[in-house]
Symmetry: C2
């Protein structure tokens, strides 16, 4: 792994995502990407093993590192699901906040290329497992860790979707808090509450 | 699609899962499967396009049909997440209850074969999307449908895991109710509740 160089990575990704959007993922060459980014092929291969890695590479790894590190370091009194959201918010601030356009474009490219979605699902499963692992190192039992990690990923996906579609300029961190509240509301609704309308 | 024949499908699956467990997925041939099941190759290909379909075929499709049908037909006063669990419980009764050994074996085979896990993730994503779609046809907004479908799948995975690992003989339906309660508990925990231990 080369060291993390935000400028080169960011420029290459921005250029690649623009080109994927303009002419399709399959038809875009690495030469075109480096040309538009004003960088060399060598610089490209310093950061990405191949074209797909533009969509799945350093950013995903960096996200996993930050989320698991923050979960491990998180205050003791936070309950499991809030711990997960705490980690996801740290990664939101550090990685995604300045990349809303890139995240949106990436989403559109994945939606248009079913072949790429498998890799996305696999990456997401790996992140979920890493989160559950980080929770277990905090002494949380594996059943609760499993549930909290998966629930946290539902919060993450919901927040990302709302954030990229929202006309407002609120930070992703706020969307994560909102999505946690939405999940909490949906999980709390029971038949009794709604089935017996005007009692209690 | 041939019509649903529980006996042939069940026998072929049981034979295949036994053989996969004994000698590995890759090394098992369709001839061996049909021989052990006491059925013909023709019967195999009536139900499964290939060896992988034993793990992902008719049962997954049948599950999706039942879950979406039951969600669509579910009583109006059920809130969204309970509606999803209602559908999952119907499929649990109709499909999985009599197949605990097969479900457990299948899980072990998927765990041992990373290549197969992608297909599993894809199937799961398709089921999640089908559930969200069924909720939307009930007039539930797409944001709530998305969250409820994903939360429901977390309940499903948790329940399946506990059910296959449990020494007790409780029905999967009960594990689904329990997993919903666990999710509800985890989602409800807030810092305030735990951070301020002995007040309120």
């Amino acid at each position: 792994m080369p060291r993390w160089e935000p400028d080169a990575v960011g420029r290459l990704q921005a250029a690649a995502l623009e080109l994927f959007a303009e002419q399709g993922f399959e038809r875009t060459t690495i030469a075109e990407i480096t040309q538009r980014a004003g960088l060399t092929k060598r610089s490209f291969f310093n950061h990405f093993a191949d074209k797909r890695e533009v969509l799945f590479g350093p950013v995903s790894e960096s996200q996993r590192e930050i989320v698991t590190r923050e979960i491990t370091a998180c205050p003791d009194d936070l309950p499991p699901l809030e711990t997960v959201v705490y980690g996801l918010q740290a990664a939101a601030d550090a990685i995604f906040e300045t990349r809303r356009t890139a995240v949106t474009r990436r989403r559109e490219i994945l939606d248009a290329n079913p072949d790429l979605q498998e890799r996305e699902l696999r990456k997401r499963a790996a992140l979920t497992e890493a989160i559950a692992g980080a929770l277990r190192t905090r002494g949380i039992d594996s059943d609760t860790a499993f549930l909290s990690a998966h629930a946290g990923m539902v919060v993450q996906q919901t927040a990302m979707q709302r954030w990229t579609q929202s006309p407002e300029n609120r930070p992703l961190r706020a969307f994560l808090s909102d999505a946690l509240l939405s999940l909490r509301t949906i999980a709390a609704q029971t038949t009794t509450q709604r089935g017996v309308p005007s009692e209690t």
